[in-house]
Symmetry: none
Subunit: 197 residues, 4 copies
DNA sequence: TCATAACCGAGACGGTACGTCAAGTCTTCAA
DNA sequence: TTGAAGACTTGACGTACCGTCTCGGTTATGA
């Protein structure tokens, strides 16, 4: 416990309240439309309080999104004896999360934040994708260990494909017409069974 | 021949000159750093001239990027007798385009522009992904017709996987550490040959 | 007849039509609110046509006002045997002209034009006051000649006082509460008879 | 004690600093040449700060000029036993103020400002003329009380004549040719002694 | 008669300033 | 020291006019 010598301590509840307000505004508008000013006004908070905690808009949005992502269930890859079922379950879980317009808006906002500040690009975006990649990789590696998967398989490639397909879906899906197909069987067939005759 | 009776016609050369200036500024800085004002100043153009043609920054940037994308070679999927080689060639061509820092900056700008205008959000992404999807699909369908690919294969899923992987790469790649591996053999092995033992 | 070699001659009716439109807009708004663009639009005239005839807003407004002033009756000083009656008649005539809100707006516009462009200040404003001054001076001089007025009287001072009082009235009168007193007897008493006991 | 709970208070020094800068720019150029932007730049002040205090250019200029007018001596009508001398002193004081090119520029700017905002038009002029009128009227009334002036005299008419003559002088005087005669004896002779033979 | 030349409406052009909005900092009072 | 409130500088936004220019097209003269 190094510091905080004297003075009033920071209000811990404010932190989550601000993140919540940020998410609300993000669901209502776009990343660009969200302003520090509007967050401060909606949260009934001085702008100084905002800047005391986050250096700028991008990190605030990043934390708000990742906070929601972390809180909304685990997104861990299931581990059963059926690899295909496990992967499908993981994909479906993500797809349903993405299908919620509010969640999709959050992810789009995170991408926008990353694209807007190329310096934080990595830190910001990979914070979301790296854990997913790790989870899928681990599950695949276990499948190799269990002899369910060919040892020569490029596990990273498969993980990237799964994540990439979800990413593409977030960005191109229309709020109106939800993509009905959340089965992913065709994808998993191709990835696991192969397609060449 | 509907309209434009009377009045001085718009200068067509200005259009491309402005797009070029926009690209230059985008290569030098981020989307957020680019301002309509700086474009106007650099292009020696009145701001009104900008707003006469593009309602805001986002569509201007979008057109500038897509214009460059359209002009920079075709990115058509090659058609030889070797499906795997054709797909790999297409992937490598895109990967190299993406790896070029200037191009990556343009794409990041496009993403930021899409995030800025939620209305055009999907339209913008689809403008990029739909033609690619069509190209890949067509090539795959031909492979099915030629008997090289299993007729039951989910062609859309494969196309989405290929596009998704490139998308993921754009978003996660850092300016510093270029991803060295542009082979995609592992991915194609998995997708075409299958991985399940 | 110096020039006009070849080419279509200028449309003479346009001239007065534009001046009329200018006056209409001046009656509706202020000098500052009037724009060359609005004049052109309202008169269904190209801007080039405006600038071909007047170098800028101030001269256009000046001509529009002076044109109306010149057209609206004579404002000549009457010449009877009764100096006081003549001056009062002249004052009343002016006062009634001024009491019309549209006319007052025109004069205010002329003053604004003069104040806005100090270079044309003299030319612009004195064009209005000098003829009045001359008219009054002449009438006063005649009164001196006729022996009705003391030869030592400062005729210019009296003329200035009469014009100045009208000027003050234009600028300070409220559109709502017209100044009821249009008699000017008190003023003429003071100026002609003196006030010192 | 009504309001202003919390928040940083407005900087009072900025107010006068901005007015001073406005006057400097007005002395250098015309009202039309002065821009809010130039005021902000010269005063090292954000435009928001300007617009927080004045809704537009006209009121700012008005306050700047009236502030200088109020600060530059009192222009009170002297009160001695000699009415004519007192009035002459007052006239001369004003005439000299008007003759100063810097002051003339300020007054021209005030006139332009008044013309720009038709709503404040009268208010603005009256702000200048009413106090003067009151001062002169009071002095004249005192002269009546002292028996120096005929009780039947129209005091308002005399006051208006004096103010009107100064107004005329401001408007017609050119920067180049200063009117040399600042005596006003002819005017005062006519007004006080009368001219009719 | 037919070219030449100035005119005309329309509206795009490069600029400058407008008045608004947001970013990020600073200053006050209260807790 | 934290907070809410809000003024501060800076700089971009999108709009309005300025005065100039370029279109297609008209209307007079003069070859």
């Amino acid at each position: 416990m190094p510091e905080a010598r004297g003075g009033r301590p920071r209000d811990a509840e404010l932190h989550s309240a601000i993140l919540e307000v940020t998410r609300e505004l993000l669901a209502a508008g776009s990343y660009a439309e969200l302003s520090m000013e509007s967050v401060a006004a909606r949260a009934q908070v001085g702008k100084k309080t905002l800047y005391r905690r986050w250096p700028s808009k991008a990190p605030l949005v990043a934390e708000a999104v990742l906070d929601a992502y972390g809180r909304s269930g685990s997104f861990d890859v299931p581990v059963s004896t059926d690899l295909r079922a496990d992967l499908r379950a993981w994909l479906v879980e993500h797809a349903e999360f993405i299908a919620d317009p509010a969640s999709a808006a959050l992810i789009r906002a995170l991408i926008a934040a990353a694209a807007a500040s190329p310096a934080d690009n990595i830190a910001l975006y990979q914070q979301l994708s790296v854990p997913q990649h790790a989870g899928i990789s681990a599950r695949l590696r276990r499948a190799v260990d269990d002899g369910h998967l060919d040892a020569a398989t490029d596990l990273d490639a498969i993980a990237d494909a799964l994540i990439g397909i979800l990413l593409l879906r977030v960005l191109t899906q229309t709020p109106a017409s939800e993509q009905p197909r959340t089965e992913f069987d065709g994808l998993l067939d191709a990835l696991l069974d192969g397609a060449l005759r």
